[in-house]
């Protein structure tokens, strides 16, 4: 900023283009600096968070020796970390099995042993769990979201009722996620219908179908319940974004298609949806990245603090993967960050998990950008 030109004091003829001396410029300058400071402080906060996580997380996930990735951390289930100190002050960090061996070797040379829950081993369980939840959530949310968006933008007539529906969808976005969690608990875990020959005694009611019963007893805590709950968390985002993308397709395409004798559905399927899809997918994937990070909705519906089996190692075999409860990354992070005593040894799993999680979300974002580019190139108008 440069100071306003000072008009000469003695009443001499002022410069014809001299700036009037007002506070306007000072205001302008101040406002600009305040806005700039706001923006930069946001950047600074984000930068600090990322730097912190990367500095602490990278050494956990990557190693200096080939293959440069800590495969144990990514391919083992979480387990209790045993920290044994011998009398010479040498410290061994090991697994439960390893601790027995070391204890035997050290014999009377052992000074102390500490155990830190969930902080040893790897985080394969949470990664797999989150992947399953996100996969099912994506299918459910995209189907319901795109279906509603198509209905709202292409079929529904404008009226009080539809305005109400829109308002409800927008409000849904403001519902706290823990409320979604409780909703999922009430609906999917405890009262959604299942087909079974032997209805559970806590079933709300069951309808005999002849060969079996439709029992409203819920799906229990499992991937399905969690994924449906997550889907509802991100539905408002997906519906709103999809509707906007559908509206952005030129009306001329619809008119032309109809004028050529296409039905409404043919028009939507062949000339509206393909051109709306890049946008729908981009915004949906960002929504899904958010779903991957939600903790509260899966706390009551799908996630366990600890599980010693991968989903397909359960009793019902491979096809039981969706009806098992799982570990999930956000809940795992919550557990190891807030539910166990903190020590220098618990940091490894904490920062490692957060770092892996960040990388996964980043991959989602990159996928969505690439997908959009590819689809844009194919379906642009």
């Amino acid at each position: 900023m440069h100071a306003p030109v000072d008009p000469s004091p003695g009443g001499a003829a002022p410069h014809p283009f001299a700036k009037p001396k007002t506070h306007r410029e000072t205001y302008e300058f101040l406002i600009r600096q305040v806005l700039r400071a706001g923006t930069y402080s946001v950047l600074l906060a984000v930068g600090l968070i990322f730097a912190h996580i990367i500095i602490k997380g990278v050494p956990v996930v990557f190693t200096t020796k080939a293959p440069f990735i800590n495969t144990n951390f990514l391919t083992k289930l979480p387990e209790t970390l045993h920290v044994i100190e011998d009398k010479q002050g040498k410290i061994y960090e090991t697994s439960p099995q390893g601790s027995d061996v070391i204890k035997k070797e050290l014999g009377g040379n052992m000074r102390s042993e500490k155990t830190i829950s969930y902080s040893g081993g790897g985080i394969l369980g949470p990664i797999v769990g989150t992947a399953l939840l996100v996969l099912v959530c994506m299918v459910v949310a995209l189907f319901l979201g795109i279906a509603s968006a198509i209905y709202l933008s292409e079929y529904a007539s404008h009226g009080k009722f539809i305005e109400g529906v829109r308002l409800a969808i927008l409000n849904l976005a403001g519902v706290p996620s823990v409320v979604f969690g409780l909703f999922g608990l009430g609906i999917f875990v405890l009262s959604a219908p299942v087909l079974t020959d032997t209805p559970h005694e806590r079933s709300l009611f069951s309808i005999p179908l002849g060969f079996t019963y439709m029992s409203f007893q819920g799906w229990d805590t499992c991937v399905l319940s969690g994924a449906f709950t997550l889907a509802f968390v991100i539905l408002p985002v997906i519906i709103t974004a999809s509707e906007e993308c559908l509206r952005a397709v030129p009306q001329g395409f619809r008119e032309t298609s109809l004028a050529l004798g296409a039905t409404r559905w043919q028009t939507i399927w062949r000339t509206v949806l393909p051109f709306a899809m890049p946008g729908i997918l981009t915004s949906s994937i960002l929504g899904i990245a958010r779903a991957a990070g939600e903790t509260a909705p899966i706390m009551f519906t799908a996630a366990l603090a600890f599980k010693d089996k991968l989903p397909w190692q359960g009793d019902s075999g491979f096809f039981g993967i969706f009806t098992q409860s799982v570990q999930a990354l956000p809940y795992h992070i919550y557990t190891i960050a807030a539910r166990i005593p903190q020590s220098e040894y618990s940091e490894r799993a904490q920062y490692g998990s957060v770092f892996v999680f960040l990388v996964l979300v980043l991959m989602f974002a990159i996928t969505s950008v690439l997908l959009r580019r590819k689809l844009r190139a194919k379906y642009q108008w």
Binding site: E255, L260, G261, F275
Partner: protein, 269 residues
Amino acid sequence: MPATLEKPAAINGSKPPTHLTVKIDGVDFAYGARQVLFDVTMDIAAREITAFIGPSGCGKSTLLRCINRINDLIENAAITKGRITLGGVDINHRDLDVIALRRKVGMVFQKYNPFPRSIFENVAYGLEVAGEKDKKRITEVVEESLRAATLWDEVKDRLHESALGLSGGQQQRLCIARTLSVKPEVVLMDEPCAALDPIATARIEELIVQLKKQYTIVIVTHNMEQAVRVSDRTAFFYLGKLMEFNDTMKLFTAPEKPETERYLSGRMG
């Protein structure tokens, strides 16, 4: 272009010519509470070119869009009185198959708007949505339609390239080919040359005159000279009313209504 002139006859050659006339009988039309057409009555003769002229907002496009019921897309827009018949059938009748109607009454829009797909796919679209599976038949019809729209020679070597690579005039002829592919009886054209340069316009006009042999054509235009050049009869609309409907030559040389004369002279200087 004698080579392309011969070909269109083949399109409708196999079926007996039908002469479906469009009769518009006392039509009022309103967008919600706003009435835009007042008691319009006119007969549109088969195998002729009828031009709708008039100042912007006079309702001529609205009337055109009523004839294939593309106005159905607009909420609360409806004919409030009177009826439009095609070959004696009320097109707004409850039992009418609107898909079948639109296949009989094709439409070319003001802004040339090919789908962002290949040239071939654009022309094949109408057949595909009608459930035509026979690839050979589709290929035949695409060629016939492109020939009929005098575009074949220009695009035959790049049928599978994007339609958006064509020039504006070519794109509009592609849209005409696409409309012809479903073999309509009536072709509605909503200012088809509004977005084109004079040379492209001349080609489209030439094409429209050729098409008259097989199709009943209704064209909305802001261009007086264009109405004179292509149309057999002209309807002048003013403030939602049909002021005058007559042979083009008569209307332009000896208008009966003072409004018509004012409009024509004002525009033609």
